[in-house]
């Protein structure tokens, strides 16, 4: 790649969209990752919190860790979720920040946005909003977030420095980034890094 990235960011984005469009439409399908309530249990989410959520809010969850495990959110905080998918982490966050706080979920996939917006409506949540966008160009004002969360999404972006710069832009001074993502203990061969299919399979 001429810009030093291992793959074309736009091509990777389309692959990711296709993968997560499928999860939104058929969350119980066969994927290389777990989904839904079983995954939330595996990753150590509070079981009572998860049990209180309707199926529509949980079944498309496809995170890789628990962004709330190192630190909980505080009442009244303004939170942005990068790659909010079916909204599971936004709904979990909404319970922690309470009615005075606000969560904005950002996702690029129409089918996931439909799913998360419907779930929020079913639950009557007034402190959660979902916006369409990509995490390299967040539709969020400068310095407006107390906390940025994300789960299994940043690894799917070719230009991670740009993502972190965007996070820095939207956070208030002293604001927190709490995210979960995968990391590999063994080096991945350069040839594999250039294979776009391996990023999403």
């Amino acid at each position: 790649m001429s810009d030093g990235l291992p793959v074309d960011p736009r091509a990777l984005r389309e692959e990711v969209k296709a993968k997560y469009r499928a999860v939104a439409v058929d969350p119980h399908g066969s994927y290389h990752f777990h989904t839904g309530r079983a995954l939330a249990r595996r990753l150590g989410y509070d079981e009572a919190v998860v049990a209180a959520l309707p199926d529509r809010a949980v079944e498309a969850f496809a995170g890789v860790g628990n962004p709330f495990s190192l630190e909980s959110l505080k009442p009244g905080e303004r939170v942005v979720d990068l790659g909010s998918g079916g909204g599971f982490d936004c709904f979990t966050a909404a319970g922690q920040i309470g009615p005075e706080g606000r969560v904005i979920g950002i996702d690029m996939t129409e089918e996931m946005l439909d799913r998360s917006r419907t779930a929020a409506a079913v639950m009557g949540l007034r402190n959660v909003e979902f916006r369409q966008g990509v995490i390299e160009e967040l539709p969020i004002d400068d310095g407006s977030a107390d906390v940025v969360i994300s789960n299994g999404v940043i690894n799917l972006c070719a230009d991670k420095r740009r993502v972190f710069a965007e996070i820095m832009r939207v956070l208030k001074p002293g604001g927190r980034l709490q995210f979960a993502d995968i990391a590999n203990g063994k080096e991945i061969p350069a040839g594999a890094l250039r294979n776009i299919d391996l990023w999403t399979d």
Binding site: F33, H34, L70, D181
Partner: protein
């Protein structure tokens, strides 16, 4: 990369066996891929 991007107070949680029992388990084992929680702060 977090620190290079200007974040401070970076913390990393213990590994989670994200792909255990899933279709992607064999590939995850091959490259020792696990899920982690990270936290960091934007300087004041």
């Amino acid at each position: 990369m977090l620190e290079q991007s200007g974040f401070v107070d970076v913390r990393i949680g213990p590994p989670a066996d994200t792909f255990g029992g899933a279709g992607g388990e064999s590939k995850a084992r091959l490259f020792e891929v696990f899920g982690y929680a990270f936290s960091a702060r934007k300087p004041k």
